[in-house]
Subunit: 310 residues, 4 copies
């Protein structure tokens, strides 16, 4: 359970309050505001705040007052046009803020997206929670033999058991030693009055990379789409993809028209190179084309054939 009773009570309390505003609101997103969407074994994603909606994208594109006379259908068409032609600045006019709990090794991938604002739980000041990511058995994949970056078959039997046991034991033991070095329990009580306790900023180095941290992460819709196009993709590591998919759900509630255009042009699309475009033209004309005649590498050709379903 990712949330303590206190945390859940605070969320419930925040959700109970309603304020009056002149700003645009998105009822479908308000429905889940503050609520924790569970991810992995102890993680979550919560929408904390947002600015703008589909109409704000259109408004910025038109740089005109209000929403006026245009029908929703026309707005959706304009949003599709902006997405297709990579007119990205109107999408920057929407902003969203998340509260995320995630393992440190996922946080290290995530933070490479630089156009965002972040405040992370500081283990220089505070003691981290005793929570670690332990993969579910069906996620315990072997190294891929064809792709240096990917996962292959799922480990089974004794090898799988041994891996799970090691991950759990090492994480727990290192946390025990973290507490011992700090000479302080998670609740702030001292272990041994005769000891000084190691500084928190040092003791944390004994923790494993699957320990959970948390942060507030705020970004605009354009950069969020970029994040999702990389992290909700099949090539992304499963653990960060799980977060991206939860966030994609929140975006669907928030800006449905933009999200549909994103799904069509980015997530489900395929970028043809000049060579691939020439090859497709020849195929459409009934000519035989090979990797060699197209001037493409074997790998590139496989990717193209896979995309075209051949």
């Amino acid at each position: 359970m990712p949330l303590t009773a206190d945390q859940q009570a605070e969320i419930d309390s925040a959700r109970d309050q309603t304020h009056a505003t002149r700003r645009v609101t998105v009822p479908a997103l308000e429905e889940i505001l503050y609520s924790a969407l569970p991810v992995l074994d102890h993680g979550f994603v919560r929408v904390i705040d947002y600015m703008g909606d589909d109409a704000a994208i259109v408004q910025a594109a038109r740089v005109s007052y209000g929403r006026g006379t245009k029908k929703v259908r026309e707005d959706a068409g304009l949003i599709r046009y902006l997405m297709r032609h990579r007119h990205t600045t109107p999408f920057e006019m929407c902003e969203i803020k998340y509260h995320v709990k995630l393992p440190v090794f996922v946080a290290r991938q995530w933070i490479r997206h630089r156009t965002a604002n972040v405040n992370e739980y500081s283990a220089r000041y505070s003691i981290l929670d005793r929570e670690f990511y332990i993969p579910a058995p069906q996620q315990l994949a072997a190294q891929s033999t064809v792709n240096r970056q990917g996962r292959g078959d799922v480990l089974e039997g004794r090898e799988a058991q041994r891996v799970l046991a090691l991950l759990k034991e090492d994480a727990e033991r290192n946390y025990d030693h973290y507490v011992e070095m700090l000479n302080e329990r998670e609740d702030g009580t001292v272990l041994d009055e005769g000891k000084s306790g190691l500084a928190r900023e040092l003791a944390r180095m004994n923790l494993t990379l699957n320990v959970y941290t948390q942060w507030y992460w705020k970004t605009d819709l354009h950069n969020l789409f970029h994040f999702l196009s990389l992290r909700a993709d099949a090539h992304a590591q499963y653990e960060i993809r799980a977060y991206a998919e939860a966030m994609l759900e929140t975006v669907r509630r928030w800006v449905p028209a933009a999200c549909e255009a994103f799904a069509d042009y980015r997530l489900g699309g395929f970028a043809l190179s000049a060579k691939a475009l020439a090859a497709v033209k020849k195929m459409l004309a009934g000519e035989a084309v090979t990797a060699e005649s197209a001037g493409m590498s074997a790998r590139e050709w496989r990717e193209l054939m896979a995309a075209l379903g051949r």
Copy 2:
């Protein structure tokens, strides 16, 4: 008058609507939401949307749930601490969006602030309004003789009259020729059916740099404070300072505690160099110090003496 009747009607209509939200709201800012605050002769600044409040800064700094048990006074103290020690990331958790109407030469200074999102009125698609910035007589300053960047005394008499006449006539004439080259009036009607009309993206080059443009401009509070520290400063050109001061008013309504800390630590403060700090220590010890003995240039020394009121 910066707003047309249509625009004012749209603003009034937007202001009439109230929605329910679970998000934090700032009633003092809601009061002026969408309203145009006049700047210069035809410009304005309007707050279009915002995210967060003083408590959101504190929340991010604590990376904890809700606002809980802390008293306002403690929050203000934490905000002062963050500002003093340049812990800037919590201020990035607040976001604001403005609609601004401003002369092009001001827009050119403004746009140098890169950490912001912008959608500007496009003169490739649309015809610009016939509105130009003409300085008020008391702003018609001579080139400073002591500061290569600044303004000196106000021009008077015939020289002032001549300058105002030139600015007005040239702006009007060039706009007339803009319309003639476009072969199209602002209302879209054609001037001469026998002509083609120059492309808008070309015709605009005939306009003067005091023509008004407009944009949506969105940024976070940290970057807004940076903008204001440079542009609400006495060294800033008067015309952009006028915008910065109007925005400073909106920030005061929005995040009063952060704005007070900003005024104390940035706007009203003074940064001592190592040499200046050493000089101040000596002065406090009753020693005589000169620019020479302090190792400072004459200009730097003057700036220090001015700050210390000596």
Copy 3:
């Protein structure tokens, strides 16, 4: 002529000097280092400095020491892979600095690319040169009747003559008045000892948007490719495209393998949406597809058919 004799002498002098360095160098780019490549009627682009080469991209991708054992052909293949899969960070490891002279209305488009470093000639301190962009007759296009953003046929006869005359006269007259208001010639001599002269930061507002300015502009290769993909594109306004094309030539000299991959995957490529991909699959299977059956708008369908050469 974009360069004065003094400027040309300084360039020649800089080009005459050779230094020893342990850094990687690119002889083909050194050949044109500092030289002004002419653009439009008075503008230019000059490469002032650079960091890295094709091998630096590969080095960053491998995060390993030196260039070692890999053959050039393999490097080119890795660069193609990085470009195809949008692994953009290795391209950020190369940096280039340009000195550019360009009309203000072009500078206003250019500056929207935020991930770059810029120092522009300041008309608050200095007097701008008497140089304006006047389009060549073959660039004097009418507003497009099918595309709100584009150009149509070239103006001819008396309409063309009138437009050119207006552009020249207005720019010259406004510049004359700029000098009169400043009460100071370009060479610094005073016009009328009895006058004060308007502050430079104010007088510049009388200039037209086709006046030339200049700046140093520095960016990394990834962001430069993004700039070029938008500005060397057929949809870009001709005047900024002229600059992009000159810069593309410098990039070809600098990082030939990366530039070839860029031309294949970005400049010459075409991004299929999910709907377009499905349509292409059907076409390849010999099925008839229409805009309607593909669920695409008429405009989108036209764009797809054009790309496929149908």
Copy 4:
């Protein structure tokens, strides 16, 4: 020893080569180019490439050709002026690229500086080295009792021994298990042919936060100064400060005038708030001032008194 024999040979080979360039060069920095400056127990910092020098800052500030007639002393004065008045863009015209080996918990602090380009060693593709940061005994500090973020006295005797033993044993054991789960040694040989081996992207989560990683990190001088002002500061955690200090040495070689201005205005300076400025004025006038009469908190007052050496 942070470098293997192979790595040292590659560095020596790179250092042996000299190329001819028309670019500006900095002989004092070339002297140490590619060389590894040791940091902590297994880390290092190496300058890999650079662009610009002190004169490039001046050139950008003047936006003029070449270096011309100005004397070095005038250049240094201009650089001081730019630093004092926070005219930061000319400092962005210099760029530097480092290769850094550092513990993961340091990398996590470092990466929060967003305006930089990074390529990190990927533990999805490759196996990390068996190297961990173990603090030197004199760095084994207790948690500060007065500062929630800082370090207090150094641990001694059995508590210190126990901490060191735990850090070493846990890091080594977890690495052993990492290898076992991978079923692959650092040299690529397989441990047990009957096992599949866990995917690298998963196995790495068992490593401790003091394991070493490495990256290429490239930034401009303005952002580097910002990094150094925070990380070479006494409030920074010792481990990242050790890197900042090594980098500060490289900057001193590279841009000595800018570095001296930085030391004077940033590193050694003190920012007075409006209240502190008013208090200093009163003190200089011989008036008694207290925290209360100055309207400052006890903590703020202590910081001011400490800066003024009272």
